[in-house]
Subunit: 429 residues, 2 copies
Amino acid sequence: MAEVSFDYRNLTEVEGGVREAELDEIKPRLEDAAKELIESDLGFMQLPGTTRYAEASRALADDIRNSGATDFILCGIGGSALGPMALQKALNHPYYNQLSDRGGPRIHFAENTDPTTLGAILDVAEPESTWVNVVTKSGSTAETMANFLVVRGFLEDALGDGYREHTVFTTDPEEGFLKEISDREGIKTLPIQQNVGGRFSVLTPVGLLPAAVGGLDVDALLAGAAQCVEEVNERGAEHPAVVGAALHYLMDTARGRNVRVMMAYADALERTAAWFVQLWAESLGKDGKGSTPHAAVGTTDQHSQVQLFMEGPQDKVIEILQVENHPRDLEIPRAYEDLDGVGYLGGHTMAELLNVECDATQKALTEAGRPNCAIRLREVSEENVGYLLQALEVQTAVAGTLYGVNAFNQPGVEAGKNITYERMGRPGY
Amino acid sequence: MAEVSFDYRNLTEVEGGVREAELDEIKPRLEDAAKELIESDLGFMQLPGTTRYAEASRALADDIRNSGATDFILCGIGGSALGPMALQKALNHPYYNQLSDRGGPRIHFAENTDPTTLGAILDVAEPESTWVNVVTKSGSTAETMANFLVVRGFLEDALGDGYREHTVFTTDPEEGFLKEISDREGIKTLPIQQNVGGRFSVLTPVGLLPAAVGGLDVDALLAGAAQCVEEVNERGAEHPAVVGAALHYLMDTARGRNVRVMMAYADALERTAAWFVQLWAESLGKDGKGSTPHAAVGTTDQHSQVQLFMEGPQDKVIEILQVENHPRDLEIPRAYEDLDGVGYLGGHTMAELLNVECDATQKALTEAGRPNCAIRLREVSEENVGYLLQALEVQTAVAGTLYGVNAFNQPGVEAGKNITYERMGRPGY
């Protein structure tokens, strides 16, 4: 049972917050948006109830783990990397790749076309036991295909045609260049369902295969997400993820707060915030609309950005991601008890300090009249992360309806792509 | 000789950009601000010309490297971590900690009070050969001291009182709790000059010691920064770092562009952007003023945030950090030449693709009427990074004068701190 809760009190009760009357006014539109979401059978709402791809992902992950794989390189960018990275960061050991008893291969992400990064991955990977997972729905994403071609060469040098057995494509099952290559070379593929776009694809094999390779429980991820879908279907416009869409929309459009900060009070959720940045930015940033999602980490950013959040312009909403029970804890030993700026720490725990600081930041923001809200996870578990990701997707889709934009396209990236294709000599550009 | 250049054409020549008349109007204020910067002998402007702390840092780093240290844990937060992290990320191998021939200890950053992160560091560190570097000017930063107490216990379990020989404090040389502890226990210390604040401290031993421990050339870092200081002293309000302060100030205050994006087209500079976020946010975010610094990475964010930058609200300025010659390159092998969406990539290099995409994004932004600018580094070298960091500090200090705020304090973080101290039982709170 996922345990994720939403707390919007500091958005509605602070001065300058959203007023009851405004929420009442937008209620009919919100209800329509929720109804549309529920009734239109969107691909991403069906994913949690679809278990066969989880089974296929887990089976293939088992094969990879049992093959003695030392390295698993995911070539993907945007939605094809951010979801997988968010899951690993949230749910695996922070130094997973350096553990000797990790039980699976090291996992590397080649998302950028930066030769320094890919070169470093290839410096540490063992070519005979490296697998590559190429993730692109279209099968022609330039950055991903460039990374793939380099990794393919690296494997081919060691394995000859055997590189084919160490390659997995996650792509459109019906069309595209990866489909074509897999047909020719007999390369294993997992599907990205056609009605699911990249930034909503974390619960397709895009996210499920690397999660399973890393030893995560993909069934629990889907179960948490399924619980969210079920609750949204039941509660409609009353579900807090949906209510949040209205609040953030009003904060931007009626209050001029064009920056939406997501501040995670757990290093494990830092990449979840990065995943959300794409989701919100690329879904809503069009037609001159869309607030700017901005990621932060607590306590770290208390010593970096909180000054701006507290005393800068009133142009932000701060959303805190809080974890009640951290996956591990460390007691702070007693020492220097006569030094009053140090001694008080002994006997407390690190997690206690982290959560006290989280509460203190929310209180300080509220007292300074800075609108803020919180999403609280009982713990960082597969179920809760699955619920959270699904809830944020729901919120984004509903916000798209409120903004009156198509949340599922990204026309603004075509111009840059076309210039790149032309300069790189792609036929037809 | 550092080679860093600034290109503001796409801020002044695009529609909605800053007009010549506006620049002329602000000129006298900019000249005053530059004069104030140059004449007031600010601490951070003197650092590049001060070599004795670089020598002390290097000597201590040599001792650490020669001692057979396997792990070096830096406990610090905000300016005490962001600068050191930026230098390592920019100038060291991306998988430095995993290399067998790295020549120095693994370097770990314990910046947050997250037990999951610190626990993971302690899972991989070898206690008999671990060193800890505690970095806090005041000597009482709660997060840093909590991390220190835990690491101290970890070392004490293995080394008894010998932990003292493996500990280095980087702190105020005259006062504070760390000074007190070092006097009692004979712990090695390096100074943070009293006239330098945390976010301007990267070229004090705060940044220099970990840089030297990681094998970086700290003299070249300082030389690059010194070149910047010299050029600023010579050119005053004509220096492009100073001119940039006026442009960004005007874009915010006269054009309502309250989001300042720094988009690094090199993974190596991702943490430099994170360092800059603190510098700009904490220096300027006060009295209801200050634009929001927002970090992005190219090409990665072309598939995440560029949709918003291209078609979202006209509330941003995009600053690109571009690298002309990347430190290494990889040729993209020829393959699938009959598939027109793949085959064109073969024969190009990864760095070429990265730079073509960088140019394409700038062109696409400009053609869409989206103000943007660029800072170009000939390569990612110690000299160029030193120059860049110093230039951004200059720009921030000058922007503080234009905004009319004190760029060197951070009063907005006290409220949260006080609530934390009270709840944790610190005497006097």
